[in-house]
Symmetry: D2
């Protein structure tokens, strides 16, 4: 079988992981690596003698045997021009999360990929991890009942970014997981945040997404925490699930705990009878496995089979629009930003809630 020839663009922090995984994947081979940093390229080249080392996109596209697909691991602000160039050249494209620096850019890439008939996938790696796959399976089974809320804590002493804030850095994980697992349309977003290290870049933020029907999701993202925490709660009317990512041997627990709501006999007092249910817990076994290996294989399979990636451009676009709305909400002091038409939205008609001061009577 012929292996899919892939190029990796950007050999900084994440690029080597892509190179390693495309190399070990039986469906793909790395034929080229592109980076402007010559020293970095030379170092990568020694460990990958079979791949061409190139220092520009021009050079990459001009290779005698150019790649069929590229994986882009460059700074977010460059995702759009590089991905556009590669799609126009007829290549399949995988982009690091988030897809682009704005909803407008992301939308344009989605349309371009559609027009060119090429695969556009965003590397929302979590969606390919076994714990998240297990969570989706459990949610899809209906065992949790009606979802009440999702709460996520994703905090640590973080790698400060100079071009994006903590929301753009960490929230794509949560937003993509919730989009994939729940398949719900976000209706509006509100966010609070604060910057301490750098005047303009929030390093701690709380993002709140309303999905309608009393279903809320809240994400705490933070680069300034003395301890690392990674935890998501999916609370349902029947059962609730906790994803404790840092407990690698038991990442998921499902609890038969919650409330039972009964109709009250004393209707004149309009009281609901709420009783508690504290049942057993379940720790589903989750296989080990490297998520990025599953992601690169999925990319190769989608190209081979002509199928749509689970983290396709549309999912990536929805995430970017929510990131954009969250940041806008912070700048509007937490005012709620309406996401006009959710999953199928086009980014043009998102509406923010104006922030004004009211007299006390409101």
């Amino acid at each position: 079988m012929n292996k899919l020839p892939v190029a990796v663009i950007g050999a900084g922090y994440w690029g080597p992981n892509l190179i390693r995984n495309f190399t070990s994947c039986p469906l793909t081979e790395v034929v080229a690596v592109c980076d402007a940093n010559k020293a970095r390229l030379e170092q990568i080249g020694r460990a990958n003698p079979h791949a061409k080392m190139v220092s520009s996109i021009d050079e990459l596209l001009g290779l005698p045997k150019p790649p069929v697909a590229v994986a882009i691991a460059t700074p977010v602000s460059t995702h759009f021009p590089i991905a556009k160039r590669c799609l126009e050249a007829g290549l399949h494209v995988m982009v690091e999360k988030p897809l682009a620096a704005s909803g407008t850019e992301a939308q344009a890439l989605v349309k371009l990929a559609e027009k060119m008939g090429r695969v556009l996938m965003v590397d929302h790696t979590y969606l390919f991890s076994n714990p998240v796959r297990m969570i989706k399976k459990i949610v899809d089974s209906g065992d949790l009942g009606e979802l009440y809320y999702v709460d996520s804590v994703r905090i640590n002493l973080g790698l400060f970014q100079h071009d994006i804030n903590v929301i753009w850095d960490l929230a794509p994980h949560d937003l993509s997981i919730v989009d994939y697992v729940l398949g719900l349309e976000a209706r509006s977003i509100s966010a609070w945040g604060c910057s301490h290290a750098n005047e303009d870049i929030e390093d701690i933020a709380y993002v709140n997404v309303d999905y309608g029907d009393r279903m809320l999701a809240n994400f705490h993202v933070n680069w300034l925490s003395p301890v690392k925490m990674r935890q998501m709660i999916f609370a349902g009317s029947k059962k609730s699930l906790i994803f404790s990512e840092m407990n690698s041997s038991e990442p998921i627990k499902v609890y038969d705990r919650g409330i039972n709501i009964g109709a009250s006999s004393e209707e004149e007092r309009q009281k609901l009878l709420v009783s508690y249910r504290s049942g057993d817990g379940w720790i589903p076994h989750v296989d080990a496995g490297e998520p990025l290996q599953a992601a690169v294989r999925h990319f190769a399979e989608c190209i081979r089979d002509g199928t749509v990636p689970i983290s396709d451009g549309n999912l990536g676009l929805r995430v970017v629009k929510q990131l954009e709305a969250a940041t806008r909400s912070i700048r509007a002091q937490g005012g709620r930003v309406i996401l006009a038409n959710g999953k199928n939205g086009n980014g043009q008609d998102a509406r923010a809630v104006r922030s004004e001061q009211l007299p006390a009577g409101v």
Copy 2:
């Protein structure tokens, strides 16, 4: 030495704890217990043969040897009339948290106590716990540097209340701790919340308090969590502190971890140099001890010595005004509510931020 004669009003969930602690405190004795429920009263009476059991405030105030002080542990909506009556009768008053059902009520009680020259204390029990006292000592020492944020998670499968929402139930703990420990004036509050069990009563909420100077506090309060969590982070520019209440043997850890911010040499790029600091941790020993015992003794000492309780009516008033603002913010879809004049405010001029929809350009 004569013991201070105390009456406990309300013998439901919390009342017996007050009776037990006023009994074991060497400065006080329980001379009467007041509750409308006769069966409950009879049961309490058997275990407290020396105390009078009375079923109304009238009866209590009409006793031949009336108490000098009362502790009120009745539903929140009754705090105001009962406390007012007792203060007017010249008694010293301790009220369960929160002080009253509205800022207006709370303000009136504060003024009345002042006019009558009586002690008005709110039973914010946490302020008398050894961990919170240790936290205050550490914060006051300056070891944490400038405070960056406070983050609190206070969630469990909770006892649903029929008259108050989860904010009024759980957030008084956080608000009183932050008020006491930091001594900062809250400038504005925003909150998100949702109700699932009961149409009108929020069972999950996120409350965000702005203290100015880039200092934020965020409180997650929740009656619908499958697991119980109690954790507060106090993050500072020098060190950060974690209060893990459920780890009773090591409730506090202080970490020398954070960021160092240096002036950049490349000023044209406006970049700050952020580096990481990952130093040692410290686990201060915290003595065991029942907080409520310390609280009732403090109440007795303030009466004896004519001093002001650390959780006096003014602190209780500030907490109530913040609870009020948080609930109002939820009803206004998260709009920010301005707390006019912080610690010295009077509740009349709090202003909410109007929520409207904006065109996308904002």
Copy 3:
């Protein structure tokens, strides 16, 4: 219904817990408390106005309306004479663990109770706790398969005793749990230990019990640990159970993890095929509840119904014989002590393994 009149002998550390629980149990009432310490007695008397306070066994037995049953919470060395006296007087007797200071004493009490036709129960409180009851239920169901080993860690910075070592203080818990849950006969015991605070009293020890059929139990008991740990593993051929006592909300977890042993095809190499099984976990819900309340009720029910307590004198005797053997093994430098006839043994024929030095060839 008439309540069973009970006297509590010994009002020190544990006695008040017995008084409280016999008082709140609907089947019993405390008619007398006996302690040589007058000041202590007076203090107890104030809180228990309906009970007689007596300062000697003579006085207790001479009361106009003597108790029908006694609970003995005095130092271990006094268990035998006091229990003997009470049994001879025709009373039912509950004794704190361990039953007596030697196998001979314990045996004599068992015989005496039998002769007098009275209930003799040892307060091995753990056997009445909901987690241990749940463990017994799971083991009895056969879900764990054949038991491979039990491992227990019971360590903390302990209350040093002046009359008994750490084995006599802490190991009764483990020995009674294993006796009750597994129902196996111990064949031999070996122990290592060391004393640091006091020349003659071991403060750290490891006790190893052989039950035959490749089933071992090992108990680490320790008064000198900087951290408190309470954990038992019950490992079986099918599943394994972990009892983490300090995790009060999830004390028990059952794991479908272990090994599968297959017959080897390469018989000439005598290799067994061992494969791993890493399946789901299960967290059975365990109700809250005070074990001592269940214990005193069980005592009352056994007296009322003429039934045998689950922690009867015979179980208490077996535990004492094992404690005796463990201590003897430590003094013999870890030599294995044979328990002659297990559950039905009489303590006379336990045999120790002599410790000598051998040449290297052994």
Copy 4:
């Protein structure tokens, strides 16, 4: 600078880690890899194009440019002949732990290396880990006071070995750590163990080492645990240290907790006054870092500088003698085995304690 040419012998489970670390170490380069498995060799060769792939020691030693040093990662039973051969050929040798399959073999290798003037190092990797280095630093500082005991738990669902039992597999870690950190001479060893999966190979064991002066060490090693645990306690008269290996962000905690022993005034009762001390804890920051990288660099530096490795042949020999004694003790039903002359012993005069049955009087 010339890099030290190294060959790795054995390319199974651990070999690739050695290859990777000798490759990334700036002092060394991998010039050859030796393994009998041709397919394995070919796979390794593709990733290491600059190294020769050879399938026998003969071939390795006959290379035109043979290595100056070898690292041996083959089954334990082959350590002796291979290391002997390489030392005789004048090579420096690093051997995986344990050094050899018997004290006699280990002793012979130590003597041979000495005679040949070559470095013989055992890859007790833990000694090169930052947590163990920090532990040694703290112990050496005297902060812990007099050592009371070491307790280690090293259990998981383990990789069953067909040639060695769980003691030979896991206890080398504990024995080497204690030898290195404490520098004490073991006087005698006792062990209990049991085999379940395979008639002759213990899969669970408890090893107890006596160091004299009331200093005991106890190691629980186990391939049959449903959960993975890695914890060591170093308890001292002043402070105690806990090494929780699985808590990678806070592996070490030092507690100022313990007992204070005072002279008793009631000398006639021979009572010691024991009081408790429960002070602060300290979490020293421990840098991240790959221990094996530090180990291979140490090997290269010892060769370059003519210095003795911290895990030299003598340390490896002491470990092997203790492993041998522990296994012998299990076969003698836990009888204590005397290690004749500890650190300088020669393995010939270790003496076991005979196990016999005694009458009860002992």
